[in-house]
């Protein structure tokens, strides 16, 4: 039980300490007050004119203060008294609520539980007040999922510009000038580049593969990167084409990378993305910057391989292109430690929209770029 101590001295520290002890006692005693009877006792103990704590601090603290300190101490005691009074009022309010609840409880014949007043009862079946949260774009959401899988396998994220030079987009990826493979890329070119050497001419990157070379220029082997990014092609927007789309590219280079590692890595990643029952298979393919090259298919994630509309009844879905990095590509970064007789690597790339379309059964690719909130908000 708190009693008013005598003050050793009247320094500011000493006064603060005394005030804090008093506040602590006040708080803890107020906390235990529930009923009207308890409140009366509490009020008398702190506020009684003759013997209450308020009267005692006036007598003990102000009474014993040195004469020149008396005005300061008096001002300070007034503030303390106000705090006590506030606490008394607050406690009285709480007691009133408690008492009325008790009364109600008695009336309604509820047992034990103290309920809120009936008058304050709400129709809890009304809808709640929602503060809307924005929704991630479905394509970027899928891209995040893919990137997360590779990050967990020790891949760092790489990035590069969307406007690229011919050198990075084609030449260093083993697309020689005038090569027919360039025609398949439907490239959008930046105007006014005629005066530049061919390899410096600007274009909108048609794949995220240029970041392979950019990364290898910056960083000697070993390398493990995953590159999410936006690419452009000369395809007008319609139900099945878009001039803008997204890819996730991957590259691993080290002294020990084999074709079996390429297969194993992608098989593992697909199981992480689509579930452990998914199977992969690989077919020979052609990309100028990989040799051997492959297309990878996954067993249909919708029918489990039995055959359905989505896999065109084949049980398999083509998902990405990949291959062992072509030695010609390494030759472009040979000075940075990429000697193709000592190191090897694999690369892969996949279209994110394609996966999002499959996953969410979106009929038309253009829905991704129209910004219709009724569409976007379905992906919450």
């Amino acid at each position: 039980m708190y009693t008013v101590p005598k003050l050793e001295d009247y320094s500011a520290e000493s006064l603060d300490r005394a005030a804090n002890e008093l506040r602590k006692a006040l708080e803890s005693e107020a906390h235990d007050v529930n009923t009207a009877a308890q409140f009366k006792e509490f009020r008398d103990r702190w506020w009684s004119r003759k013997s209450g704590i308020k009267a005692q601090i006036n007598k003990v603290w102000l009474g014993n203060a040195p004469l020149d300190q008396k005005p300061k101490v008096g001002f300070w005691l007034n503030l303390l008294a106000m705090e006590i009074e506030e606490k008394l009022e607050e406690t009285q309010g709480a007691v009133a609520v408690y008492e009325s609840a008790l009364t109600l409880a008695a009336k309604e014949d509820w047992t034990g539980v103290i309920s809120r007043p009936l008058a304050d009862r709400l129709d809890i079946s009304l809808p709640g007040i929602q503060r809307p949260i924005g929704v991630k774009h479905p394509v970027l959401r899928v891209m995040d999922e893919i990137v997360a899988v590779f990050k967990a396998m020790g891949y760092s994220v790489g990035e590069g510009p969307e406007v690229e030079t011919d050198y990075y987009n084609f030449e260093s990826l083993n697309f020689p000038p005038n090569h027919p493979a360039r025609d398949t890329q439907d490239t959008l070119f930046i105007a006014g580049q005629e005066s530049k050497p061919a390899r410096d001419r600007l274009l909108l990157r048609t794949h995220t593969s240029p970041v392979q070379i950019r990364t290898m220029e910056q960083q000697p082997p070993p390398v493990r990167i995953v590159i999410p990014g936006k690419v452009h092609r000369n395809d007008p927007l319609d139900a099945t084409h878009s001039p803008v789309f997204h890819q996730v590219e991957g590259l691993a280079v080290d002294t020990n990378i084999t074709f079996c590692d390429l297969k194993g890595t992608l098989d593992h990643a697909m199981k992480a993305l689509f579930g452990s029952s998914v199977k992969t298979r690989f077919y020979p393919s052609f990309f100028p910057f990989t040799e051997p090259s492959a297309d990878m298919q996954v067993s249909c994630i919708f029918c489990g391989g039995k055959g359905c509309r989505k896999c065109k009844f084949s049980g398999w879905i083509e998902l990405l292109g990949c291959g062992m990095v072509d030695p010609n590509v390494f030759d472009f970064v040979k000075q940075n430690g990429y000697d193709s007789s000592k190191i090897s690597g694999f690369a892969f790339g996949m279209g994110v929209e394609r996966i999002a379309i499959l996953k969410y059964e979106v009929e038309e690719i253009q829905l991704f770029y129209e910004g219709d909130v009724r569409f976007l908000e379905q992906f919450a």
């Binding site: 005030a19 009304l126 809808p127 809307p132 949260i133 924005g134 929704v135 774009h137 394509v139 990050k151 020790g154 760092s156 994220v157 790489g158 990035e159 406007v163 027919p180 070119f189 930046i190 105007a191 006014g192 580049q193 530049k196 600007l202 909108l204 070993p222 390398v223 493990r224 936006k230 000369n234 395809d235 007008p236 001039p243 080290d254 990378i257 084999t258 074709f259 079996c260 590692d261 297969k263 194993g264 890595t265 690989f282 077919y283 020979p284 393919s285 052609f286 040799e291 051997p292 090259s293 062992m324 072509d326 030695p327 090897s344 129209e370 910004g371 219709d372 909130v373 009724r374 976007l376």
Partner: protein, 708 residues
């Protein structure tokens, strides 16, 4: 391209049925896209990669099957009658032309040439490495025999006449484009392969007059061009019903030369398609004989002279060393020597084993895609079967590195989502007009744009967001909050470099708080936008954040602001200019914001810092002032800040009124302050003194104190 399994089975004995064969070919990289039945015949629709031009014919696919199943490939051996020659009696030189016996064959051919009768001159050895020809006389041009015609029909081509169909049939069988001329329409009794002369004109088979230039390679007689080499024959020398004598051309043209011609004349033909990708230099005699055989079988009477085979340069392939250690290093498994020999041998490679157990591999003339050891590895892997390789995971010695902007991008995105904006992606292109209206610098134009409205790379994210707002409003979605983080582009310096910067754009229109049973709707306002901008900027470290009204002209001049962080512009936001809104037929207020993330990201993200919560009471004081309209809150705030009152914890405007009581050109503001110390309880006299300082400072700005 189509392949008939019955046709290719003429060359290989395969036990597998047509469906299984299709699957096995696909697994080896000779992709059969679909298997169909048509008029009782099975048809493969092929989807071959551009590098495998050698397999775009029946014999090429048969060769793959022979490697897959390890069965023999039957040679093609045209049977030709003894030629009639007027001056010299040549020996019969018909027979298979294979790689190994090529030189021999050519010598034999040279010895029997009736070159005086029909000399062939190759003036451009770069453009044409080889030109093989035969002459067939006294032909009867008419429809092809039924087996030939029906096969061509199944492949999707229309039979024309027996001579033209013979070249088409041989093309589908052997993959080599040939051409048949009406010999009597060639003037001067010679063929010259040369560059076209400037101004020469050739009417091609499609009836179009082609203006030629020196970049074009032509087949010419003594007087004029008669064919565009490797692309299309000439109209005036084509086979017709009146044709009596035929000259068969089977040549090898340079891929780059044909490609540039096809591009220049905007012509894409079966022939140019093959030559561009690299035809087989070694097959021209065989293809020539095969066409001759077909013509003679249906139309011919007389083979005139021997084969005329003119070689301007040789294009045999080099040999490649193949090391078993390299096979293991790249593919990850060991191949036994017999398997290597078997696979490559079946594919037509010449394989010799050396003492170390490694190989020297001679590449056949039809495999222009195989140049290096690694290309041979792919041959081994695909015939072995990609899915026969085990799946393994590589060990890794490197570390994971985080890009510097990764956490910042994540923070910005997470904040926008938390503020209730949906993430959007717009098309990167804008019109010239938009590029000029939205963006300070010079925009980058696209040389081959999708459309005129998409002629430039975006200079700002706002036009794309406004398009999306329009899309939503037109469909009755009145409440729209969208954001996009992406790149904007402009020219730098003299225009030779391009600058690509990351921006964040967002747009809000309609209700910030929707109407519900619990509350009224609250529309979006400038201050919602400002709050969102402040929320975004608060994540970054800075000394000073300042707002002014210097915004681009597409903003409402009185309801927009620019945010400067430590003196640098990082954002512009506010209401869209009513004229811009009207031009887009928007009937509600649109609020837009654009953050220059590249500049914002020069600031680091805030590290959270803990501050002890004061145990001492807060003292509150309110002041009511009247100010001139011109005096902004920013002036009031910074004036009070200048007092540097350490205990002043809060200084906010609590209420603002305007009206008769305040008087015109004035406003009244209730300023709320809170003082608090971490160390002690504040005294009345201190607070009174600080209050007096604040009052004096605000009075010096022209403020009139109404109440305190």
């Amino acid at each position: 391209m189509r392949i008939l399994p019955t046709w290719l089975r003429e060359f290989v004995k395969v036990a597998a049925d047509d469906r299984q064969l299709a699957e096995d070919l696909t697994s080896a990289g000779i992709a059969v896209e679909s298997v169909q039945e048509e008029n009782g015949a099975t048809i493969y629709e092929m989807d071959l990669t551009t590098n495998r031009v050698d397999a775009m014919n029946h014999y090429g696919v048969a060769r793959e099957a022979s490697a897959i199943y390890d069965v023999d490939l039957k040679p093609v051996e045209p049977k030709l009658p003894k030629p009639k020659v007027r001056r010299i009696a040549p020996p019969n030189i018909s027979g298979p032309i294979g790689m190994t016996s090529l030189t021999e064959q050519m010598e034999a051919a040279a010895a029997t040439l009736d070159t005086d009768a029909f000399p062939i001159v190759i003036e451009d050895a770069q453009g044409c490495a080889r030109y093989t020809a035969r002459i067939v006389r006294n032909v009867k041009i008419g429809p092809s025999p039924q087996p030939v015609a029906s096969r061509l029909e199944l492949l999707g081509s229309r039979p024309i006449n027996n001579a033209a169909d013979a070249t088409n049939y041989a093309l589908n069988e052997l993959g080599h484009p040939t051409h048949a001329f009406d010999l009597d329409l060639l003037e001067g009794g010679t063929i010259i392969v040369r560059r076209a002369r400037e101004g020469e004109v050739l009417k091609t088979l499609d009836g179009v007059d082609r203006k030629l230039s020196t970049g074009d390679l032509v087949i010419a007689d003594e007087k004029k061009p008669v064919a565009l080499a490797g692309v299309m024959g000439g109209f005036d020398s084509m086979i017709t019903e009146r044709t009596k004598n035929v000259l068969i051309e089977s040549a090898w043209f340079d891929p780059a030369t044909v490609r540039s011609m096809a591009k220049r004349h905007l012509m894409h033909t079966d022939a140019s398609h093959r030559f561009e990708r690299g035809a087989d230099w070694g097959i021209t005699p065989l293809a020539c004989d095969r066409v001759a055989e077909l013509i003679l079988a249906s139309a011919g009477d007389e083979l005139h002279g021997g084969q005329i085979d003119t070689v301007a340069r040789r294009a045999e392939r080099a040999s490649i060393a193949l090391h078993r250690s390299e096979v293991n290093r790249i593919l990850g498994i060991d191949f036994d020597e017999d398997e290597i020999q078997r696979i490559l041998g079946r594919l037509g490679f010449g394989v010799t084993r050396n003492a170390e157990g490694d190989f020297r591999v001679q590449v056949p003339t039809w495999r222009l895609d195989v140049e290096r050891e690694v290309d041979l590895l792919e041959e081994l892997a695909r015939i072995h079967g990609y899915n026969q390789f085990p799946n393994t995971l590589p060990a890794f010695t490197g570390a994971v590195v985080t890009l510097p902007d990764e956490p910042k991008n994540a923070k910005v995105r997470e904040t926008m989502l938390a503020l209730g904006y949906d993430e959007a992606i717009s098309i990167t292109f804008i019109s010239e007009q938009e590029a000029k209206a939205f963006g300070g610098g010079e925009p980058l134009a696209i040389a081959n744009p999708l459309s005129e409205e998409a002629g430039y790379l975006r200079t700002s994210l706002i036009p794309g967001l406004l398009d999306m707002v329009g899309y939503n409003l037109n469909r009755g979605n009145a409440n729209v909050r969208l954001f996009e983080a992406g790149e904007v582009f402009e020219k730098l310096g003299d225009g030779s470099i391009e600058d690509e910067r990351r921006h964040l754009g967002f747009v809000a229109t309609g209700d910030a708080i929707a109407k519900s049973v619990h509350s009224l709707a609250q529309p979006h306002t400038f201050f919602h936008m400002k709050g969102d901008v402040e929320e975004l900027l608060a994540a970054f470290e800075y000394q000073k954040l300042h707002f002014d009204d210097q915004t681009p002209p597409y903003f409402h001049p009185g309801r927009s602001a620019r945010a400067l962080m430590d003196g640098g512009t990082v954002a512009c936001f506010g209401q869209l200019h009513p004229d811009v809104a009207a031009a887009r037929k928007f009937r509600q207020e649109i609020y837009i914001a654009e953050l220059m993330l590249d500049r914002l990201y020069r600031h680091s993200l805030c590290e959270p810092r803990y501050q002890r919560i004061s145990k001492f009471p807060t003292v509150e004081r309110d002041f009511s002032f009247i100010f001139d309209e011109a005096l902004t809150f920013e002036r009031i705030r910074s004036a009070v800040e200048e007092l540097r009152l350490a205990e002043l914890q809060q200084f906010v405007p609590a209420e603002i009124f305007r009206g008769e009581k305040v008087g015109p050109g004035k406003y009244s503001v209730l300023l709320h302050t809170e003082f608090q110390s971490n160390e002690r309880t504040l005294r009345d006299d201190e607070v009174a003194q600080w209050s007096a300082q604040i009052v004096a400072k605000l009075e010096s700005l022209g403020g009139v104190l109404r109440a305190q």
